[in-house]
Symmetry: C2
């Protein structure tokens, strides 16, 4: 057993795409183990796109990594020393190990991996990425047999799981991936019905044409992993009442497309703040109109709910009133009263 | 009773903001009434922002108005001739009359207005706008006492109703409106807790500062009526798990801010297609992880769900593997295995 611990640190904050100089490699003594904790020799740890966000100074949904801190990661390893009830030397455990040879884990934050499956699966297909796919698809994708799902980064661990779960639920699954190899992988290994190579298309509109061919019935679920060109290509293909779970915006992690493009700011905020954004058209809900009248008309009659009308007299004056309303010239509900 | 009908038509499609020449005024004989229909003398009709969208050739959620067709509108009027069961001469009815002195309504599409309230309320506070506010707030806003709601076009018929319903539900309500008069109206007549005049601020960031002062606890519900500068100002103020019902994007109805700004296309599509877009972070859902393992681990063990790993050997090679992954250099789940 080595008495030294090696770790990768954040040496400085990257500008745009990270470069090797942004990382440091440090060696030091093994950490102390307190009651309720265990020392683990890491066997394998995970690299995930979300880690790019942690390298920025800005707080996202999680605290930023500080300069000099170990890069964050989930990992799996074997217990060397345990001062935690329920964990013994030799146990395989998963937890937030960081990019490091050793880690001290609290018992409350460690999970014993004793189901017979390879420990590495605890980081991918059965770890955070697989769980993300399973949760987001049922909760926010709400798949129905016969629908069409599009997903980019389709051969990544989230994409591969979303595709397989959706296919099993009876959906047509369409992968977007970078390069012919990944497209073949998507179709052959992960069972996607079609795969579109985004590198073969320079702009959103040509990518959109290729996607439209792969989605003859439109798109019901767009699982958002990337943002950028794919988002722009897919949105016009969405069917009414479609769903867009936003899981990542990797195209925008290292910077945005320019000051004039406000979409990255809005879209990334929707992810990090976990917003629910719903377009709705009242004509879809018209069946509830009598319930509304029953509840609200008495409140209008009593004055509990007040209103204001902005009345224009004469049909011939309607265009002018309409033009004025569009620029905010009205005060209250705009109406035209006929002579 | 006049034997002539007057109507306002779409003379040509507007470019940007409509001008009077885009409309025509036509007079002709009264229309015929078939079985199941009634002829109505219109007393008052409604002007609403959504009508701007109908003037474009592009299909939105409703068919475009054709050149020469009567401009669409809901209206209220008195029955002159009825060939419809349940409706008699002299009844007051509401329906889709258009911008016109007379209309033929089908019984199935007409509603008798006999509740004693002024007929004009059928078009505003108790009509489509009020019903929109009532439905969208409960279904997509999901207000909770103590939260903060922001709404633009706050003195319009939708805004005024949303504000009053939210206030009654115990929320802090913050109006955005154009000009000091409308801000005073929002506070004094409709009971908003605060009102911000968007015309007093040139850009989104100065408007945001004013809104931040009016919303000391952040924003939980942003009711979207306008898009544009207000949207850009509000999004960074949203609290986690906030809700954004998209009801309109009037700032973008007459055109967008330039080719480089993709936000209007995406945001308007979310409205017209009634999309549900949800940002989510898996760490909020971690309580379900064991359920996931119970369901999915056996499928991984059996091979029903397949996976692929992209393993880099050696801690010191983690930065390079991470950089490569961010540009799509990996195939499958990216992992680092320690020696």
């Amino acid at each position: 057993m080595s008495d030294q611990m090696t770790r990768i640190t954040l040496a400085r904050r990257p500008e745009g795409t990270p470069v090797p100089e942004d990382f440091g490699l440090e060696t030091g003594p093994l950490p102390e183990v307190a009651d309720g904790e265990m020392l683990v020799a890491v066997e394998v740890f995970s690299l995930d796109p979300y880690m790019r966000g942690r390298m920025n100074a800005v707080k996202s949904y999680a605290a930023a990594t500080e300069i000099g801190d170990t890069m964050t990661a989930q990992g799996v390893g074997r217990v060397l020393v345990s001062k935690a009830e329920g964990f013994a030397e030799g146990d395989m455990v998963m937890g937030t190990t960081g990019w490091a040879s050793h880690a001290v884990l609290k018992a409350t934050e460690a999970l014993k991996w004793d189901n017979g499956l390879p420990p590495s699966t605890a980081l991918g297909v059965l770890g955070m990425p697989g769980f993300t796919a399973w949760t987001g698809l049922r909760e926010y994708g709400r798949p129905k047999a016969g629908e069409t799902l599009v997903i980019a980064a389709a051969t990544g661990p989230v994409g591969a799981m979303v595709g397989q779960l959706a296919k099993a639920a009876g959906l047509r699954t369409v992968a977007v991936a970078g390069g012919a190899d990944k497209c073949a992988l998507a179709r052959e290994k992960f069972g996607f019905d079609a795969a579109v190579d985004h590198r073969a298309y320079d702009d959103a509109s040509s990518l959109r044409k290729a996607l439209a061919e792969a989605c003859p019935d439109g798109v019901d679920i767009y699982w958002e992993n990337v943002g950028g060109k794919v988002l722009e290509a897919v949105i016009p293909l969405m069917n009414d009442h479609g769903r867009v779970p936003i899981c990542g915006t990797i195209a925008w992690y290292s910077g945005v497309d320019g000051d004039t493009d406000r979409l990255p700011m809005v879209w990334r905020s929707m992810l990090t703040k976990r917003l629910s954004v719903n377009g709705f058209i009242i004509f879809d809900h018209w069946g509830g109109y009598r319930d509304f009248l029953t509840e609200v008309a008495p409140k209008v009659a009593s004055g509990e709910i007040t209103y204001l009308e902005d009345v224009t007299e004469g049909l011939e004056n309607a265009p002018e009133a309409f033009i004025s309303m569009l620029s905010g010239g009205n005060m209250g509900k705009t109406l035209v009263r006929l002579a």
